[in-house]
């Protein structure tokens, strides 16, 4: 038997068409989205990975990662980064990305259960268990970090209740409440194929540059699984497009929605590349040009033209925003740093220099004055209370219009006699496609004001966030900073040898 037919025996031939129960009862969601799949049998999982190969390869990979982690933990690697403010970024990543990995794990099971296409099902199941891996190797790392640094110890409550966490959570909740084909496109295509490289590659390089050996290893280890997930995304997309022409407009609509939805979650990643590392191997703008513009918009979407698929709506807007994205997002984080479990920080002279050189047209002109206001008083730019956020991406509505950067891009949409606020044309479009869905979001500010978390605001809020006000604010003036300096002193790392 050749590899192909034996793989087929190991996957697609295992399932059968139920005889005693209606197929529509076994797969109740299969026709709901209007997707037509005539001959799913001809589709192949490009990776053809069997169970045995999976456990052997992944177990090896896992052991390699844990060796790095053990060394990092045993040798106080956390004290050896060039600047501890990096960990504020790591906390943001921890609290936004790690729960997302876990949600993706549950989501892939939902997709696999409900799409009866065996070649895809085995790949979705591999991804389902991969995502559990990512959630666990990340949380395992934070378990160690949590013993030395603030902000991570209450991740469960933070994830359930903090305004910041609704951003990533709402993305996955949106997919979990969609039909299985839409969910597959949302994750396998938009998230994995279009954006995952930009999440793990630049951020892992930043980690390596600042000396966080462990996080560099997390990034690389996770990314090695993503190659499979990207292949699944491509296979699934091609399958839907080739099976029936009637699928094309439906898929196009999903690509429009999920491109912008994924792009918006990655706003925080832009700050993790441009702001938090003191040594920066790459800027958001360059990373976006390489991983999104070249590889996706100019590469993949050109190949998709033959199916009648065009670039996602608002892709143009994301290109325009690349000169502004990290600065506008960092500005938002600085506004609300008193109500977050990771801190902002005062920019140092070398930061201004790097940002100015990388963003000659925008940083100095539109953003530097804002950051300089923190030179005299670190809380000078704090906005009191909890932000008004976009009804789709749930990021505070403070993105400038890239065509007129002194104006906000904020949009409004009427639905059911209420005005809803959106951060951008991209989110407005998404809202108007499914307003009935998007008005069901859990809006923290409303819950807080309605007294869901008590009446003594803001102190009662912190009880629900799970962290104390001292764990927020600014890094260089924080207890974390002080402790980190002391750790370095104890280890003799504060000495300079020329």
């Amino acid at each position: 038997m050749g590899i192909k037919s034996s793989y087929s025996a190991m996957t697609r031939e295992l399932m059968w068409d139920p005889k005693d129960f209606d197929l529509k009862k076994v797969y109740p969601l299969i026709e709901k989205e209007g997707i037509i799949v005539k001959d799913p049998k001809k589709w192949e999982d490009p990776f053809r990975m069997t169970y045995n190969q999976y456990v052997k390869i992944q177990s090896e990979k896992d052991h390699i990662y844990h060796s790095v982690r053990n060394a990092f933990e045993a040798n106080n690697g956390h004290a050896k980064v060039v600047d501890a403010r990096w960990y504020e970024g790591i906390k943001a990543f921890a609290l936004a990305v790690q729960p997302a990995e876990y949600a993706a794990h549950r989501l892939m099971a939902y997709i696999g259960r409900n799409i009866p296409i065996e070649a895809i099902r085995f790949a979705t199941f591999n991804q389902c268990i991969d995502e559990l891996r990512h959630a666990q190797i990340e949380i395992k790392h934070y378990a160690h970090m949590s013993k030395y640094y603030d902000g991570l110890h209450a991740y469960a409550k933070t994830n359930e209740n903090l305004w910041f966490n609704t951003v990533a959570k709402s993305f996955f909740d949106d997919a979990l409440t969609a039909g299985p084909f839409e969910a597959l496109m949302a994750i396998s295509f938009s998230f994995e194929y279009v954006f995952t490289n930009i999440l793990f590659l630049p951020f892992a390089s930043s980690a390596a540059a600042v000396g966080d050996e462990n996080f560099a290893a997390v990034g690389k280890s996770v990314q090695s699984d993503e190659a499979r997930h990207m292949a699944l995304g491509m296979t699934a997309l091609k399958m839907l497009l080739e099976e029936d022409d009637r699928n094309i407009p439906i898929v196009q609509k999903w690509l429009d929605k999920w491109y912008w939805r994924a792009y918006r979650i990655f706003s925080v990643v832009a700050t993790l590349v441009d702001y938090y590392p003191r040594i920066r191997p790459i800027s958001w703008r360059k990373a976006f040009e390489i991983y999104v513009e070249d590889q996706v918009l100019d590469g993949l979407f050109k190949d998709l033209r033959k199916y009648g698929i065009r670039e996602p709506l608002h892709a143009e807007d994301s290109i325009k925003e690349k000169e502004h994205y990290s600065h506008a997002t960092m500005r938002i984080l600085e506004h609300y740093k008193h109500a977050n479990m990771f801190r902002g920080f005062r920019l140092q002279p070398d930061d201004y220099e790097w940002l100015h050189n990388e963003y000659p047209d925008t940083f100095e002109k539109y953003y530097a004055p804002f950051f300089r206001r923190m030179d005299d008083h670190i809380m000078a730019v704090a906005s009191p209370g909890i932000p008004a956020v976009c009804a789709v991406c749930q990021i505070p509505v403070e993105f400038p219009d890239p065509d007129q950067p002194n104006k906000m891009w904020t949009q409004y949409s009427e639905f059911n006699n209420k005005t809803h606020i959106l951060c951008s044309p991209g989110c407005k479009h998404i809202f108007e496609q499914e307003p009935g869905k998007f008005i069901q979001w859990w809006w923290p500010a409303e819950a807080y004001v309605n007294g869901e978390f008590g009446t003594d605001l803001p102190l009662d809020l912190f009880k629900y966030f799970g962290f104390s006000p001292e764990e927020a604010n600014e890094h260089y003036s924080s207890p974390d900073r002080e402790r980190w300096m002391k750790y370095r002193e104890q280890l003799g790392l504060n000495q300079r040898f020329v």
Binding site: M1, L14, K19, K56, D62, K157, K169, L176, E452
Partner: protein
């Protein structure tokens, strides 16, 4: 660079999290799944439930986080264990090939294995598919994580049996196609096929686990992977026995974790499906209000009046006899192939020695057949 002078840095907390964890497994498992403030309602599910909602099962719990896997598997320990198992299975296959075990098998035994063992790849796979439903809807990471690994085990097992069948095909003609034919239309297998199809349309994740782990799997698994396996050894079929050796290990863990879970749930005193909120520190949660409207106030959905113990008994009463009947249908195949094993007697022995004690230990009532 650690040495005697190198003092340990003083951590700010001894425990990583705000809740107690006793080991690595708990560190990476407990409280992974969020419980509150899911964002939207499923667009095709008119029940209007939250993303992780206690109403996806009739079972109640005062603490959905309380369950622990007796084996404490998390991704790293699970894959590491299964890697060893996969290597064992592969080594056993190549050894059997090397020693010409497969080609020298007695033809009558080959026929028996072809007919009785090959169709199991489909059953195992069908179960794996419905366990993915459990992974999505079960409440609490410790429970769904066990389902994840079990589902993956069953997928792997379906592939192992497929590989075994392909090895057999190299010497003894068609196995895969023949096995599927048997599975789809040989009368002795129809009740089993139908049983798994019924599991596939069972929505309550708790019931799915009962229908697989507490009823069908202990009966079918012990009959085939243990008793039928003894016959394999009698016929010198180490090729098949080596595979069953790995499968039995998986199977015993599947039973262990499921009986541990249902034992715990049977003891449950919770009277409302919302009691678990107290264990999470959300006893004052006023329900799911959005924009001044209520998305299905939990307190307005009717409570399940029965206690867990009664519900579990009801499910066992519904599925166990069905499973027993379905497995006992295989006896005609055992007779036809002149196997020295009386299926009815074997099932009685399995029930008495292997199943009853498990129910007893878990404190769950058991009638048997």
């Amino acid at each position: 660079m650690s040495g005697p002078q190198r003092e340990m840095l003083e951590p700010i907390r001894k425990q990583p999290w705000d809740w107690k964890t006793k080991n690595e497994y708990e560190e990476v498992t407990v409280r992974q799944q969020p419980y509150l403030h899911g964002h939207y309602r499923h667009i095709f599910d008119e029940r209007d439930y939250d993303i992780f909602d206690p109403r996806y099962t009739r079972l109640k719990s005062s603490d959905w986080e309380a369950f622990r896997d007796p084996k404490k598997y998390w991704y790293t320990t699970y894959t590491s264990d299964r890697k060893k198992m996969a290597e064992q299975v592969e080594n056993n296959f190549s050894q059997a090939e090397e020693f010409h075990v497969i080609e020298h098998l007695d033809p009558s035994w080959v026929e028996a294995a072809r007919t009785i063992y090959t169709p199991l790849r489909h059953l195992e796979y069908g179960e794996s598919v419905q366990l993915q439903h459990v992974i999505r809807y079960a409440l609490g990471t410790s429970i769904e994580q066990c389902s994840t690994f079990q589902s993956f085990d069953k997928t792997g097992r379906a592939q192992w049996i497929t590989q075994w069948a392909m090895n057999m095909e190299a010497h003894h003609g068609d196995f895969l196609g023949f096995g599927k034919e048997i599975f789809m239309s040989q009368p002795a297998f129809q009740a089993l096929r139908s049983y798994v199809e019924e599991v596939l349309v069972t929505d309550d994740w708790g019931e799915v686990l009962v229908a697989l782990n507490l009823t069908l799997d202990p009966l079918l698994g012990n009959l085939i992977y243990r008793d039928f396996n003894r016959l394999a050894l009698k016929h010198g079929d180490t090729h098949l026995a080596g595979l069953n050796y790995a499968i039995i290990k998986q199977m015993d863990w599947h039973a262990d974790w499921a009986f541990a879970l249902f034992g715990l749930l049977a003891e449950e005193r919770a009277t409302s499906r919302w009691d678990y909120l107290k264990s999470l520190g959300y006893e004052d949660w006023p329900g799911d209000y959005r924009w001044g409207m209520t998305l299905s106030d939990p307190r307005n959905t009717p409570e399940e009046p029965m206690h867990n113990r009664e519900i579990i008994n009801e499910w066992v009463g519904k599925w166990y006899p069905k499973a027993y009947h379905a497995v006992s249908q295989l006896s005609s195949l055992f007779e036809r192939h002149n196997l020295q094993l009386n299926v009815q007697e074997a099932l009685q022995a399995i029930q008495k020695e292997r199943i009853e004690p498990k129910y007893k230990n878990a404190g769950i009532a058991f009638q048997g057949v």
